[in-house]
Amino acid sequence: MKLIEGDRPERAVSRRGFMQRSALGVAAIAVTPAGALLNASEAWALDVKGLKPETMKTLILIARDIYPHDKVADKYYAVAMKSYDDKAAADPKAKAEIEAFVAALDGAAGAGGYLGVGWESQRVALLRSESQNPMFDQIRSGLVVSLYNNQEVWPIFGYEGESYSKGGYLERGFNDIDWL
C-alpha cells in the first residue's frame, strides 16, 4: 500500500467523490471507483490493499477522534494508520479483527455508520464504549508513536527535532525568551 502525494492522480472520480472533495476533514476523503482513498484538497491518495476502503477511511477518522489536532491534516492520520492495511493484507486473522472492530463501531453508530456520526463528541462516546476492547488500546498506543514520531508532523507543533548537525541551540535561540 502506498501513500501517493503531489499532483492529483490520473483517476476517474465519481460525482459523489467530486462533491466530497470540498468537504472538511475525513469527509473530504473520497473512495474512488478503483477502491482507493483520494483526498484531492490535500493532494494525496492511498491504495488500500487489505481492508475495505470504507474501513480504512473509518480508521483514519477513528485515529483523529482519539488524538484530535485540528491543525494536523488527514494525511498524517492516514500515514499513522496504514500499518493496519499492511497487516490485513498479510494476515487474514488480523484483517478479521480490525474489520470486526470497525463493524462494531458502525453497528453501535446506527444508520450511516461511524463515518455518518456528525459530532466528534458523539463519536468519542462510541469510542469510549469500546475502550475496554484490546483493539482500541492497540490502536491508541500505536498512534502515540505512528502519529507523533512523524518528522513531518513536528513543525506543526513547533518542535524542531535534531539539533547537533546545526551546532546545537547555543547560537539558535536557547535563551531567547522575551516575555518574562
Binding site: 489536532h69 491508541r140 507523533y148 508532523v153 536557547f174 531567547d176 525568551i177 518574562l180
Partner: protein
C-alpha cells in the same frame, strides 16, 4: 592498545557493568596497576554515533531486555515490562543521564536518627557519614568537571531555566541556579564545551557531558590494565567450597557461554540487574542467592519520589532548546516535617521532545483534553521532582517466572508508594504549580512518575550484616571478595541525583580494594 586478559587468569578483578560505578572503579584500579576485566552486557556505541531522536536513541541505548513489574505503582499499569529507563551499552546510564551532580546532605546519611521511626519504612543509617565521603566527593567533582566547583562557571540559563527562575523568585525561593552539572561549561579534559543541543538523554554527541564511555574507560584502557568486553551478559557468579567467588559465567555476542576467572568480582549492573545476578547465582551453599544471609538482597528498592510538572504559557518557551536539566531549586531539599512529610526534594528543569511528551505526559490518556495540552507544546516549560522516597522491604527485586533470551529468570520490580512519598509528591506538585502560575501559566499538568531513571538500595550498605548486604566499603558482608559498586549500595536515597555519590563511592572503594590486594587480605 588496550589489554586482553586470558579467561583463566584468576588474578584479575572482574567488574560487571561499565557505568558510573563499574567504569569508574575499573579506571581507578587500572591506574593503580590492578588488572581489570569489565564485562558489559551492552554493545559499544561511541558518542559520535549517538542520535538526536528520542525513539531511535531509545532503541540504540536503552535496556529493553525482559523485566516484569508488580505492585500498585502506575508504571506497572502503563509500562508493565519497562520499570526503568536505563541503559544497556558501554558507559551504562552515564550515556543517558542529565548530568546533575549533587552531594547528599549530612542528615541524609543518618535518616533513622534524623527522621525517627516511620511506620512501614525500613530506614537505616548509612555506615559512613558525609565527612567520610567529602574527600571523595571533591575528587569526583574534579574528575567529572562539575560546574560551580573547582572554579568552573555555571552553565548559561536557557529559556526553561529562565521560566523556573522567574517563578522561583516570585515564590521567594533563595537557591535557584543552573545547577552543579557534570557538563563542560568550558572546554576541559580534552572534551568540548556544551552547545545547548537539547538531547542530553540521548547521549551527548559533543562529549561535553561526563560519561564513563569517553572518560574513565579510555583512560583505564590507556594504562594497559583494563579490558572492556562488550556484548558480554553475565549470567552467574561462581564460588568455591569455602564460599569465595572464583569467577563469572557470561553469554558472549554469539550466545555461547564463557567463563572468566577472577580474584575479586565487583557487581555494578544498576539496582535491578545487580540483585538479580546475586539471586540467579544461588547454589546449594547459598540457596537464597549470593551474599543474602540478611534476606535484604533485592529489597528496599527506591526510585526517588519522582513526578514532573509541565505548564503551558501564552507565549513560546521552546523548552527543548538546550540542556535537559537546565536549572534547579534546592530550597525544598531540607528536612522539615512541618510540611507533612520527612525528607526533602529538589526541583530540576526537564524537557521532553514531542514524541516522548506524547508518550509520558499522561500515559493512556486520549481525546481533546490530552491533545490540547500537546497543542501547547512550544509554549511549555517543565520540571522534574527528585525527592527522598522511603525504603520499604516489600519494594523489591525478585526473580520472575518469566525468562530472558538466555533462559535466565528475569527481574520483577515490585513497588508501592509509601504515604510519605505521596504526601511529598503532592506538596511538590503544589509548589511546582504555584511556581509556574506565578509567571502566568494557563494550564499545569502534574505528570505521574515515568519508568525509573534513578534506581537504588537493593544491596544496601549496613553496619550490621543482618540489616543489609554490604559494609562501608561496598564489600558484601558474606563474601570478602565480592563487592557491589553501583547505586544498589545506597542505604537510603536522599533527595539528590545519585551519580556523584556512586562515582565517589567507587573512587573510595578502588582505594580499599587495591590496599586489600596489596596486603593480600583478599
Amino acid at each position: 592498545m588496550s589489554a586482553k586478559f586470558d579467561q583463566n587468569d584468576d588474578s584479575v578483578v572482574v567488574i560487571v557493568g561499565s557505568g558510573a560505578g563499574g567504569g569508574t572503579l575499573g579506571n581507578e584500579l587500572a591506574q593503580k596497576g590492578v588488572k581489570v576485566v569489565i564485562l558489559e552486557a551492552g554493545a559499544r556505541t561511541e558518542y559520535t554515533d549517538f542520535v538526536n531522536d528520542e525513539w531511535a536513541s531509545f532503541i540504540q541505548l536503552a535496556w529493553k531486555d525482559m523485566r516484569t513489574t508488580s505492585g500498585s505503582w502506575r508504571v506497572h499499569k502503563n509500562f508493565p515490562n519497562l520499570p526503568a529507563w536505563i541503559v544497556k551499552s558501554v558507559g551504562g546510564s552515564t550515556t543517558h543521564w542529565a548530568g546533575a551532580s549533587l552531594r547528599l546532605q549530612e542528615h541524609e546519611f543518618k535518616t533513622e536518627s534524623a527522621y525517627g521511626r516511620i511506620n512501614g519504612a525500613n530506614l537505616l543509617d548509612w555506615p559512613i557519614t558525609l565527612a567520610d565521603l567529602e574527600p571523595y566527593y571533591a575528587r569526583a567533582e574534579d574528575k567529572m568537571g562539575v560546574t560551580r566547583t573547582n572554579n568552573l562557571p555555571g552553565l548559561p540559563g536557557s529559556n526553561n531555566f529562565k521560566v523556573m527562575k522567574a517563578g522561583a523568585d516570585k515564590l521567594g525561593y533563595k537557591e535557584c541556579h543552573t545547577g552543579r552539572m557534570a557538563i563542560n561549561s568550558v572546554e576541559r579534559d580534552g572534551r568540548n564545551s556544551c552547545h545547548q543541543t537539547g538531547f542530553c538523554f540521548q547521549g551527548c554527541k559533543w562529549g561535553a557531558k561526563w560519561s564513563t564511555l569517553y572518560t574513565e574507560i579510555p583512560k583505564g584502557e590507556a594504562t594497559g590494565n583494563l579490558e572492556v568486553r562488550p556484548d558480554s551478559h553475565v549470567a552467574q557468579i561462581e564460588h568455591d567450597a569455602s564460599g569465595k567467588v572464583t569467577g563469572v559465567v557470561y553469554f558472549d555476542k554469539d550466545g555461547k557461554t564463557q567463563r572468566q576467572k577472577a580474584r575479586i568480582v565487583a557487581v555494578a549492573g544498576n539496582s535491578i540487574e545487580s540483585p538479580r545476578l546475586l539471586l540467579n547465582s544461588a547454589s546449594s551453599k547459598f540457596p537464597d542467592g549470593l551474599a543474602n544471609s540478611s534476606g535484604q538482597v533485592g529489597r528496599n528498592y527506591m526510585r526517588h519520589m519522582t513526578g514532573s510538572v509541565y505548564a503551558v504559557f501564552e507565549k513560546p518557551v521552546h523548552m527543548y532548546r538546550g540542556t535537559t536539566m537546565a536549572g534547579i531549586v534546592r530550597d525544598e531539599a531540607r528536612h522539615d516535617d512541618k510540611r507533612g512529610f520527612v525528607g526533602g526534594y529538589e526541583l530540576e528543569t526537564l524537557s521532553l521532545g514531542l514524541p516522548f511528551m506524547a508518550a509520558f505526559l499522561d500515559p493512556g490518556a486520549w481525546g481533546r483534553e490530552f491533545t490540547t495540552a500537546l497543542d501547547g507544546y512550544v509554549n511549555m516549560a517543565g520540571m522534574w521532582i527528585v525527592g527522598e522516597d522511603m525504603p520499604q522491604e516489600t519494594n523489591r527485586i525478585t526473580l520472575s517466572d518469566a525468562k530472558d533470551q538466555w533462559g535466565l529468570q528475569v527481574a520483577d520490580v515490585h513497588f508501592d508508594d509509601h504515604a510519605n512519598d505521596v504526601a511529598m509528591r503532592n506538596h511538590a506538585y503544589g509548589q511546582g504549580r504555584a511556581l509556574y502560575e506565578a509567571v502566568g501559566a494557563t494550564r499545569v499538568f502534574p505528570t505521574p512518575p515515568y519508568p525509573s531513571t534513578h534506581n537504588l538500595g537493593t544491596n544496601r550498605m549496613s553496619e550490621k550484616p543482618r540489616d543489609g548486604v554490604v559494609n562501608k566499603h561496598g564489600q558484601t558482608h558474606d563474601i570478602s571478595n565480592l563487592f557491589i559498586a553501583d547505586g544498589s549500595q545506597f542505604t537510603t536515597g536522599g533527595a539528590e541525583n545519585p551519580t556523584l555519590t556512586i562515582v565517589s563511592l567507587a573512587i573510595r572503594q578502588g582505594e580499599f580494594i587495591a590496599d586489600q590486594m596489596k596486603a593480600n587480605t583478599i
